[in-house]
Amino acid sequence: MKQKFCGVWATYEFLDDTCETIKELRNSGFNKITTHAPCPRHEIDHALGDPQSRVPFFTLAGAFVGFGLAILIIYKMTLSWILPVSGKPVISIPIMGPIAFELSVLLSIFFTAGAIVLLILKDTLRHPGPISKKYKDYNRFMRDRFGVVVACEENQLSAIESIMKKYQAEEVNSET
């Protein structure tokens, strides 16, 4: 099934123009906004209303899973083959420390990496972008240009275009 997109996208040379556009679009009730930037900028986050990521929950979950896994394998394997070492208890709490720590770190990193990929995919599916060749071939977003993409109804295109032009967008493109 071919993805559909109806909306406007514009490119900007300056960060303040981009941020002002985003603020006015949000004030006008257009909230399906996607931005492009060559590097992360807090100014854009503030203009978008400081959205929060859920990645830390996955990281915490990974740490718990790693810790639990470490305790489990140490118990299981130590009791499976009793290996007395110079009078030390067979199950010793201090010796679990290093391995529990390392596996907590390892799993939390894996969960974090997985969460980044999953959450980006989820947001990308929720906010589909323009499908035109011109948009896909535009290659300055990762170089030196900012971009604003707004999904909207067909009858709202002109209102959005006028806001974008007001803040001196370099180019404005509509897609239906």
């Binding site: 040379e13 300056f14 960060l15 303040d16 123009d17 996607t34 931005t35 492009h36 930037a37 060559p38 590097c39 992360p40 900028r41 854009i44 986050d45 978008l48 959205p51 990521s53 990645v55 830390p56 990281t59 394998i73 140490i74 394997m77 130590t78 499976s80 083959w81 290996l83 070492v85 030390k88 010793s92 010796i95 290093p98 391995i99 720590f101 390392e102 596996l103 770190v105 390892l106 939390s108 990193i109 894996f110 974090t112 990496a113 969460a115 980044i116 990929v117 959450l119 980006i120 947001d123 990308t124 906010h127 972008g129 290659n139 300055r140 977003f141 990762m142 170089r143 030196d144 001196q168």
Partner: protein, 439 residues
């Protein structure tokens, strides 16, 4: 720096990734020659046995374990620079962290070879891992050597993940500057990253968490490596100072290796000199002199503990190190690690590229010697005079050591040609953003 724009950074990095010239090819031939000799020496050892290395009674841990600790130490600076300095927002980090992270990954890959080489029968290396088997015979979780297996594997996995995560936006930037098959390669590698707010949001939060998690890992890994020694009741090893002493030494040697690599890199790609500025190298110089002082203090504390504890075996060992038959290694170590970095207190030396380069190389030599002193002299002079001995270096282990440098630099040379060796997005973050209405 004021002339640099977002676009200039892309251009500089793309220039560095152009097809290699003669200096790169000549360097690669040298590096591959060293690696080939190392591989030949190892294959000889595999055929003939460990007796052809210098490992013998009483020094059963020789050059290979020295190399292992040395390379793990080198591997520390990359994660330190990318994670710890990221958390404290150190501005000099951005221009050097990508190459340092690559250095970490390649150094840990090199370090990981040495326990396997040291085993002798390398084909049994998998015995180190807890894997299900018919006899239900599991590994000994009480052994610090097993903790080390977990620590090094975790460190390598986290370093690689951190390295790849940092590369994604930069590969996207390179993709947009490339054409043909190159563009296809970078398109695949950048996983569709286009710098949208959704991507940056989760990416940056994840990156911050990576840094926060990697920071304690940096300290834990070399602490666990130090416990390989400190948990054993061998004079010179059984000391509570070992973990912080090893961590400081690792940061010291790692920072020196960063300079050893960054200075030629800056020279090889002239466009980098306005990105990797002298003040960034100067900051590394400050870190070297600071960690040198910690290392010097640790040496002094070791001697004081040996004297003040009254433990006769400990005292005997700490007399043997500076005045015994292996004293050359000790005094060279003191020269390289305690005296050579001292000129870095003077700004003139800290801002002199040749001085920084020479000091960084001597510090690397000194830190290898420190590890050899710890491994070699302690085992050479344990409790029983009947079991005392010395160490004879053999050509096999010398060539394997040289080969390890070939292995490390081979990966680094490939890296600078196919990956962005400067962090593009993070360098852009440090620049004033383009504003129409100047603030």
């Amino acid at each position: 720096m004021s002339q640099i724009s977002y676009g200039t950074i892309n251009d500089r990095v793309v220039q560095s990734m152009e097809p290699p010239g003669r200096p790169w090819l000549v360097s690669m031939v040298l590096v591959l020659s060293a690696l080939s000799m190392g591989v030949f020496a190892w294959s000889y050892q595999l055929r003939q046995g460990l007796e052809y290395s210098g490992i013998s009674h009483p020094i059963a841990w020789g050059v290979y374990i020295t190399n292992f600790v040395f390379w793990i130490g080198i591997g520390h600076a990359g994660t330190l620079i990318s994670a710890v300095l990221y958390l404290v927002r150190a501005p000099f980090r951005n221009s050097i962290y990508r190459a340092s992270e690559a250095m970490t990954v390649f150094a840990v890959m090199t370090a990981g070879l040495f326990p396997v080489i040291h085993l002798g029968r390398a084909w049994f290396a998998y015995w180190l891992l807890p894997y299900p088997n018919q006899r239900e015979l599991w590994v000994n979780f009480k052994s610090p050597l097993l903790w080390d297996v977990f620590a090094i594997s975790t460190y390598m996995s986290v370093s690689i993940a951190f390295f790849i995560l940092g590369l994604i936006p930069d590969l996207a930037a390179i993709r947009d500057e490339s054409k043909g098959p190159k563009r296809f390669f970078y398109k695949m590698a950048s996983l569709g990253f286009r710098g949208t707010n959704h991507q940056w949001l989760h990416y940056m939060r994840g990156y911050l968490l990576f840094a926060a998690i990697a920071t304690p890992l940096v300290f834990s890994v070399h602490s666990i490596v130090s416990w390989d020694f400190a948990m054993a009741s061998v004079p010179g090893w059984h000391s509570t100072i070992f973990a912080p002493y090893f961590v400081a030494g690792a940061i010291f040697s790692g920072c020196a290796m960063v300079l050893t690599i960054m200075i030629p890199l800056r020279k090889a790609f002239p466009g980098f000199s306005e990105i990797i500025q002298v003040k960034h190298l100067e900051s590394m110089g400050k870190m070297i002199v600071f960690t040198s002082l910690i290392v010097t203090y640790s040496y002094a504390v070791e001697f004081f503990i040996a004297y003040y504890s009254g433990a006769r075996y400990e005292r005997a060992l700490f007399w043997f190190r500076p005045f015994g038959e292996m004293r050359v290694f000790f005094w060279l170590m003191i020269f390289c690690n305690c005296l050579v970095p001292l000129p870095l207190f003077i700004k003139k030396f800290r801002t002199s590229i040749p001085a920084l380069f020479i000091i960084s190389i001597l510090v690397n030599v000194g830190m290898w010697l420190e590890r050899f002193n710890i491994v070699g002299t302690s085992l050479a002079h344990e409790y029983d005079p009947f079991a005392w001995g010395s160490y004879q270096f053999e050509w096999v282990e010398i060539w394997i050591t040289i080969g390890s440098f070939g292995w490390f630099f081979m990966w680094f040379f490939i890296f600078v040609k196919i990956m962005p060796s400067i962090a593009v997005a993070e360098m852009k973050e440090t620049l004033p953003p383009p504003f129409r209405n100047k603030r």
